[in-house]
């Protein structure tokens, strides 16, 4: 999720909560204010009536055009005691002139005259429609929210992109940085001190990683030198012995076995070096490679070398699979997958290769149970322990695929081990 979306979503949610809260508060405050005013008017009106009633003067007419109404009943003392002396409430009343019911504010008050008789006075005045008010407040709040939101988001996005421009420049620069490649100069002028610090930190980190990369490269080179030379000495001494001394067949057999073990170590060392070179992205040049041609060329060699135990190899082409990658890596990738299918096969088994425009699938017979697909691409993982096998072939294939963002997957289907490679 982009930072701007996160910020905008959060702003919208917070705004929604605040505006809703504010709407509720506004509504109640307004209702209270109106009630207060109406209550004052009602109180004045009831006072007039009570004063007139007590003075025995004529009471105001019930129909004076203000829609105000009143009723007076005589009540008993007990009843008078049970009521509060002044009480305001809302109710629906029927207005005769209009012939309809309307919401009204009502004041109920109790008074006693000199003779000790108690009266209940109810004065009412039509008030506003609360439903209407609520609806109006709500729709205006929605309108306000929408307008505020759009304005806010536009302003926010503009401010965001304007102020964070140096950050995006820096991110773009970081994306372009690959260990082992020369560092491009960072052109990111800014007066903001945080961004300046970030620029400096990124440049320092890039320089450090460049340094570490070079040191690692050097270390690999040195380690390789340190191992290759003694390995060369060992094999060469054995070769010298074999070539220059009279040995019995048994002695020769032992020396050949030792030599083959040494060859295995040499291969292991070479594979490990190759793997670390891939991981260090030291193969950078790429060109389009037609995998079909590569597969056919490799199959010719492998058929000759491995087809001594009745292996049947078939190739099905329905398109040309082309990858843009380093030539040496393409060869290593395909040859490891193909070789794997030959080596881990069984007697009278088969290999079936399918080439399509977007994929390369190699299926082979082998063990009768699926391999551990979690660990199959791990270094030194071997489904069935095979002498002479380094256990690095699939790890190399996987490392190459990671560099080029290719998908390499393993699947076991009805006795077939399937490896699929796709873009």
């Amino acid at each position: 999720m982009k930072l701007i979306y996160r910020i905008l979503i959060r702003l919208s949610v917070v705004l929604l909560l605040i505006l809703s809260g504010w709407a509720v508060f506004f509504y109640y405050t307004m209702v209270e204010e109106i009630n207060d005013e109406v209550d004052d008017a009602l109180e004045d009106y009831s006072e007039t009536i009570v004063l007139r009633a007590l003075a025995g003067r004529e009471l105001p007419s019930a129909n004076d055009g203000t829609n105000n109404t009143y009723q007076i009943h005589e009540i008993t003392k007990e009843e008078a005691d049970s009521y509060p002396s002044i009480h305001y409430y809302d109710a629906e009343i029927y207005i005769q002139e209009k012939k309809e019911t309307e919401p009204a504010r009502i004041l109920r008050t109790i008074f006693a005259n000199n003779e000790g008789r108690y009266f209940l006075l109810e004065v009412s005045t039509p008030s506003f429609e609360k439903e209407d008010l609520r609806g109006a407040v709500a729709s205006w709040i929605v309108f306000l929210y929408a307008t505020l939101l759009v304005t806010l988001l536009i302003v926010c996005a503009w401010v965001f992109y304007r102020s964070l421009k140096p950050l995006y420049t820096l991110l773009h620069w970081l994306d372009g940085y690959l260990p082992g490649k020369p560092i491009a100069p960072l052109q990111n002028k800014t007066t903001i001190s945080e961004f300046r610090r970030l620029n400096d930190a990124a440049q320092r980190a890039a320089k450090r990683s460049e340094l570490a990369f070079n040191q690692q490269k050097q270390f690999i080179g040195n380690a390789s030198h340190e191992l290759q030379t003694p390995l060369a000495v060992c094999t060469n001494r054995i070769e010298w012995l074999l070539d220059n001394t009279d040995l019995t067949e048994e002695q020769m057999a032992e020396l050949f076995k030792t030599k083959h073990t040494l060859n295995y170590i040499i291969r292991l060392n070479k594979s490990l070096l190759f793997l670390s070179r891939i991981d260090n992205r030291q193969f950078t040049e790429s060109c389009p490679i037609e995998i079909n041609n590569l597969v056919k060329r490799l199959l010719d060699d492998y058929k000759e070398i491995f087809c001594y135990n009745g292996l049947i190899v078939s190739l099905e082409e329905s398109g040309t699979f082309t990858l843009i990658m380093n030539e040496a890596l393409a060869e290593a990738l395909i040859s490891n997958l193909v070789k794997n299918a030959f080596i881990h096969n069984k007697e009278n088994g088969y290999i079936h290769i399918t080439l399509k425009e977007q994929s390369f699938v190699i299926a082979n017979t082998g063990t009768d149970f699926p391999l551990d697909s979690e660990h199959i691409f791990d270094r030194f993982y071997q489904g069935s322990r095979k002498e002479e096998s380094t256990g690095l072939g699939l790890a190399i294939a996987d490392a190459i695929c990671k560099q080029y963002q290719l998908h390499l997957s393993y699947e076991y289907r009805k006795g077939e081990h399937l490896f699929s490679l796709s873009k």
Partner: protein, 233 residues
């Protein structure tokens, strides 16, 4: 023929020295850049085997020194760094060949011979053994003056043998040289037997006086037969 070995690892230096002495070369050795640079200034050699990672300097600088002194020595770089950069810069600086470590001694011999042929052969690059002659430039094989047709793999095997006469050839090393790295996990060398068998038949048919002998099933040796043994076959 005078050869200078520049190699800092004493054990390997001694072994190369011993091997090349057997091939009847005059061999000198140097263990450091300084020693090597003194030797190339004072003497001249036909071929220099140059390790480029030396304790006191980069071997590639010796190539520069040679150029500055207008010396014509052939140089074979021997490097543990099997990196393309080194190979390219070495060959650009005037090295004649590049041999990554670890190598087979037989391979070293063959490379020296090939470099020497280029140096002294006056354009004639052909390899002769008994009555077999190979012209590597045009991939042609002549037996007793008559050209014969060989398949690619047969030709590669024969060339490999011809470059290493009278030496024991390990079938694994042969397979690696001819079939490339692909063979590295094969536990069966039937494909080598099959090709060598074909090659033997071809040579016999054409009346070659060299023989590819099997050594206990571990490897081969190519030798010139004397007349009696040819008669026996």
């Amino acid at each position: 023929m005078k050869i200078l070995i520049v190699e800092d690892e004493p054990s390997l230096r001694e072994l190369m020295y011993k091997t090349l002495l057997q091939e009847r070369y005059v061999v000198e050795t140097a263990g450091t850049y300084l020693e090597a640079s003194l030797k190339i200034t004072d003497y001249s050699y036909d071929c220099i085997l140059l390790d480029i990672m030396l304790p006191d300097g980069n071997g590639l600088k010796l190539l520069d020194d040679l150029k500055k002194q207008h010396k014509q020595e052939s140089v074979i770089i021997i490097s543990a760094k099997d990196s393309i950069d080194d190979k390219v810069s070495g060959l650009e600086l005037g090295a004649d060949d590049y041999l990554p470590k670890p190598f087979h001694l037989a391979e070293l011999n063959a490379r020296i011979k090939s470099v020497m042929r280029r140096r002294w052969g006056n354009g004639d690059m052909s390899i002769q053994l008994g009555n077999i002659r190979i012209e590597p430039d045009s991939f042609r094989v002549f037996i007793a003056g008559k050209e014969i047709e060989l398949l690619k793999k047969e030709y590669d095997i024969l060339l490999y043998f011809m470059n290493r006469p009278n030496h024991l050839i390990d079938k694994a090393a042969l397979a690696e040289a001819v079939w490339g790295d692909h063979i590295d996990q094969s536990d069966n060398f039937y494909f080598v037997y099959a090709q060598v068998k074909n090659l033997r038949q071809q040579l016999k048919k054409a009346g070659a006086d060299v023989e590819i002998r099997s050594i206990y099933g571990f490897g081969y040796k190519i030798v010139i037969c004397n007349n009696e043994s040819t008669g026996k076959q």
